[in-house]
Amino acid sequence: VVLQSGYLATGTLDLDDASDGDVTGGPTLNMALVEPGTLSALVSVHAETSSLVAYAEWQVSADGSSWVNAVAPSNPVTTSIAPKSILADADSIKLSVAGVVSDNDAIVTSHATVASILTLSGAGLNGVIGVGAISPPRSISIGTTSHSGSYNIVDAITVTGTDADGNVTTGTGTLTQVNGNETIEVFAGADGVDGFASVTSVAFPAMNDTAGHLLVGVLSEVLSLTALNGKYGDQAISPANTVTVTTAAHNGSYNTDDISVIGLDENGDAAYENLSIGAANGGQTLTTAGLFSSVQSAIIPAMVDASSSFQIGTSAVTQHDAELVLPAPPCVYGMPLARMSVRITGANGGSVDTYAIGYNFRRRAS
């Protein structure tokens, strides 16, 4: 048995000379070469011109000049192969997830500042969560009470714990107010966009005196790759598309801060966009300005209450590319010549509209 793969492959050709309604024939195949029941065509089409619709159709001929469409017994309607409209899908990246509420001392309840390095771990993490699991993973808040001149605003605080995959991770943050009365947010990971699934220690630099107080808690919800459970959660978004965040309507539940979407743009470069929630009652669909080819994480700030909820999805989009393997119908095997063809309707073809055809079959034993 000899398998022919990519036989008479055309490479990429354009439809610049094709007018609305024209059929562009692919390479002519001598059916004497083909074992009956084994022929298919790998067809790739890019339909870019507005309103242009492309169909792939098998044709047969007795003489190589006059061609007839070959169809299945019931003469079914041929379905176009490109372009394809993809509907908006509100939860294609993340199925509905409830908002979370901040808890400013969930890891460490108020602890007096000390004038030397202070590392809290084990029982020293005495908040309601302490060393326990943080589910869903979240950023860590470091809070300070108000006291004049107590706080070190030069050296970093280091939080160590685990990420959503159970790996050890760290994050750092530096206080900015020497007199306290602030909350800073610490994310995990080298890129500073991961969440902590647990905290094992918090290391503070030496403070200026012992009159201040430190609190460690949980803040934003961080949806990492493993938490993105929509169909594009762990896959490329194809074609690249704008990302939507939908908030369910609920009076007064929403913090109006930004939601962050982190991933790759249509060129594969890092992309990071902030979407402003803006409305305390929810009921919005927020859309990124740029295109994303994947989403790797999303950061949802702490909400007013847990009645808030979010979906992350994708907008409606037109997919211009298609690739399919189309089997030849049985009727082609009774004719001497066959070919795959591309028919266009709706508009004249252009140089931006392209196709490629190649045949696969078992070669008939001689």
Binding site: L3, L326, A328, Y359
Partner: protein
């Protein structure tokens, strides 16, 4: 005539199979198969309410790049099993292979999940049925 039934049977549940993604079937070398005789025997029990299970065929020359097979006229696939709010029985179907598979070196039948993600209660068994090539 040598018939192969329950060839490469695999079974399990759809835990972790996300909406729009697929459970890839075993790869079958097509030179084992007499043209026109391949099908997949599929048992699918969609228990999760809103879960739809579809079968789809793919082909490959190198087992690395896989191409989706369409019907003659590129018609849409129909779900084999759909989960409802009640108890759902397993659905057994013999799904004919696309005629496109016989000119390729490798083929496989995949189960695609739509509607909602698969769970441990959503069960499947897939095997191939065909006449061996001489």
């Amino acid at each position: 005539v040598s018939l192969s039934r329950a060839y490469d049977e695999v079974s399990g549940d759809l835990t972790g199979v996300r909406v729009g993604s697929q459970l890839e079937g075993h790869e079958l070398h097509m030179l084992l198969v007499r043209p026109g005789t391949l099908a997949a025997m599929i048992s699918a029990e969609a228990e999760a309410n809103g879960l739809s299970v579809f079968a789809s065929w793919e082909v490959s020359s190198d087992r690395a790049t896989w191409h989706r097979c369409a019907a003659y006229n590129n018609e849409a696939e129909t779900a084999i099993a759909v989960g409802t709010s009640g108890n759902d029985a397993a659905v057994l179907r013999l799904v004919e292979a696309s005629q496109a598979v016989y000119g390729w070196a490798w083929a496989r039948c995949n189960l695609r999940v739509d509607g909602i993600g698969g769970t441990a209660l959503d069960l499947y068994t897939v095997s191939y049925v065909f006449e061996r090539a001489e």
